[in-house]
Amino acid sequence: MSNNNKKWFSLNLGRKEKAASGSCSCGKTSGGCGGASNSHHITDEEFDVAAINASIGEERTKDGFEQVFDVKMDRRTAFKKLTASLLIGAGAVSTSCSVISSDENKEKSQIDWEEQFKGNYKLMTDEEKNGTVDRLVRSYQLRTGKTISMSSKNAEEDVLFGYAFNISKCKGYMDCVNACVEENNQDRNSQMQYIRIHEMKDGKGFNFNEADDNYYHEVPAEGHFYMGTQCFHCDNPPCVEVCPVQATWREDDGLVVVDYDWCVGCRYCMAACPYDGRRFNWSKPEVPEAEINHNQHYLGNRMRKKGVMEKCTFCVQRSRAGKNPACVEACPTGARIFGNLLDPDSTIRWVLENKKVFRLKEDLGTEPKFWYFMD
């Protein structure tokens, strides 16, 4: 990787002097195959960062809808995006075949290698799901010395998750936002938040253009009401339709999820979402070690990386275990109601059948499973 002026990428597997066999064919997974030279100019970590940077390009750091406007995409950036993934894999090979790396480093590289070329989570068997989860847990342990628990629990039969939000109850406290950020290990640097609470003027209808979602004054403010938005887990999600690599999909219990390891960061889904439900990691997400939530799910709050999409998952790590999402639990007013739409005796069903409920942009046919109602 020493020659950055080249117009193509070549896989330098640490054997510059030897002209002959281009790839490591010794077949060993530990130990070296001999003949490796010491010509690495950057560390593996720097290398990963550079590769991901190449895949994101030089677009500005913006939030929400603004991110998807003015995106430059010429053939060169497109090509860079395609090769970036290959490069990361190549980095893993060069370490796993090296004689100078320790056994731990080799295990790390072995994991990296398997992770890099694993399949799409959506298509994995339960065994493969457990496999990748185990690798991720081990990898985290090798890197940080800390133990996390990660679940790959599938959707349960006879469950379809739905959400209802009481506009007359919400007082704009934003306790839900804080709880969500902490539960889901969202990037503290960019202050990412899945939930937005919109402060709206009474008598103006649901006017999102004039609403303020970053107020800071005593609440509830006179003459205003509050309305929360997040991913609505559409039953007919347009974001899923546009993903070129099927990195995002609808699970059987209705949750719309992202495989962070399959996402290529194109942000088509963000452009397709009519509800501003998706967030993008423009930089490496940072969470102080002490604040990391160690109770994780592969499709939920596990640590993300730079250049991938994320969003509300109705706290899949909690909801599939029977708990309420963090926002529901944190709300002091009881404005947020969550439950199983297929259970005729559930409280969410009672709300849908007995209150005057509505959804945003219903005419789009996206069928969000997030209803609003008033007392």
């Binding site: 029977g322 009881g334 199983n340 297929l342 499973k369």
Partner: protein
């Protein structure tokens, strides 16, 4: 000529067929709307293995049945610091309101309806302090104090029974446990206080400059 017309007819027919096939792009669901789908798919709902029992945790609950709803609410009496009231209220009130006896309840300031509508004895029974009383003088247990509130707040009571009002305890899965009125509202001052939001996003401010 005739075969041409025939051909045209076939093409038209075929394109109608195509149109009919693709215009109703309903993916995996053959339902017209999510509400239809919910209704149809919940017809043979068998229940799930998921339970939220573990998350109710230490909270002691009692089961109540109101109308067609049966659910758990937190037990109350053990949570009231100075229950039973008769431990102090051993004499009639007039006799207790003397200088010689230590003052109590000084922190309670009524801010609930107006003086024409309510005072202490609207809910408390001065002759029997360990229980509450209804407007007509019937006894209401402290554990089921919602029966006191629902005398006036009938609409909230309906919503609460169904689950549209009042926060759930534990999780969404059965068994259902809900907060009762006094778990969120101070009965002497039931409104929610105004306060500052829990966060302010400085990054958002920068991005929007």
């Amino acid at each position: 000529m005739k075969s041409n017309i025939n051909m045209m007819g076939k093409i038209v027919c075929f394109s109608f067929f195509l149109l009919a096939f693709f215009s109703c792009k309903h993916h995996e669901n053959e339902y017209h709307s999510i509400t239809d789908k919910i209704e149809a798919e919940s017809k043979n709902y068998h229940g799930t293995s998921i339970s939220s029992e573990a998350y109710i945790g230490e909270i002691e609950t009692i089961e109540i049945t109101e109308g067609e709803h049966t659910f758990l609410i937190p037990e109350r009496k053990s949570q009231i610091k100075s229950y039973a009231c008769t431990e102090c209220h051993s004499k009639p009130l007039e006799k207790m309101q003397r200088k010689a006896i230590k003052k109590a309840h000084w922190d309670i300031k009524m801010d609930h309806a107006n003086a024409n509508t309510m005072n202490c004895v609207t809910c408390h029974n001065p002759d029997h302090m360990d229980d509450l009383k209804s407007l007509t003088g019937n006894t209401i247990d402290f554990n089921t104090s919602y029966n006191l509130c629902n005398q006036c707040h009938t609409k909230q009571f309906e919503d609460w029974k169904g689950g549209a009002h009042g926060k759930r305890i534990g999780g969404w899965a059965p068994p259902r446990a809900s907060m009762t009125c006094v778990n969120c509202h101070n009965p002497h001052k039931p409104h929610f206080e105004s306060r500052w939001p829990a966060r302010f996003n400085t990054q958002k401010v920068k991005e929007r400059e």
